[in-house]
Amino acid sequence: MNKQAGETLSVVVERELPYPPEKIWRALTQPHLIAEWLMKNDFAPVVGHQFSLRMDPQPNWNGVIDCQVLVVEPNKTLSYTWGALGLESAVTFTLTPTHTGTHLRMEQTGFRPDQPQNYQGAKYGWQKFFANLEQVLARTE
């Protein structure tokens, strides 16, 4: 129970991939490749670079996730902020070479709501955000 309370504020997804870190790094850092598996974007692997991840606009949301690059360690670690609907978090990808390829770990952590008066989530709501996300994913797949 102790650990659980802390972990509710972060999301971890891990996967073993039969490819070298260099190849996965390309998929994580080249805009045209990011667009193929994540979202349309204007990413650049430069610390401090501000960029957007874009989905199709939704009735109450422009579909834009505001990001800023925090960490770039080629073939090892990529981290950027992830801000949408007044909620701020950070996404960190960690690549570890294995005998058969690469262990890829994604951790999304830390949530900071903006001031209440600017908090779009208040009128929109996260449930709806995810419901829309599901719809978008269903359409694109």
Binding site: G6, G121, W126
Partner: protein
């Protein structure tokens, strides 16, 4: 439901308040005095944070003599757990798409 999320996120956004809540999660029920000893802020400030946590349903108070004991209510985190499970699902699907892409890159 969105209001529940707002309240929880806003309540836990304050680092001092979050630290108090985490301490209650990790170490179980405690008095204001015990929490103040390690919070790095004054007792009135700790009491104020506890009041906000209580309003959000994140802590419960129990009076015993002149002492008030506070304990964490993990059930109140359910909407956040819900949020994180949905985000986990989102990334699982994105990683599926990433695997597909990596296969294509091989060819």
């Amino acid at each position: 439901m969105p209001n529940t999320h707002d309240v929880l996120f806003r309540t836990l956004a304050d680092p001092t308040r979050r630290a108090i809540f985490e301490r209650l999660c990790h170490e179980g029920e405690q008095t204001v005095a015990a929490l103040t000893a390690r919070a790095g802020v004054s007792q009135p400030a700790v009491s104020k944070h506890l009041g906000v946590l209580r309003k959000a349903g994140l802590v419960r108070d129990r009076h015993e003599g002149r002492q008030t004991h506070y304990s964490a209510q993990l059930g109140a985190l359910a909407p956040l757990i819900d949020w994180t499970s949905q985000m986990t699902g989102f990334w699982q699907r994105k990683f599926d798409a990433l695997e597909d892409l990596l296969k294509r890159m091989d060819q």
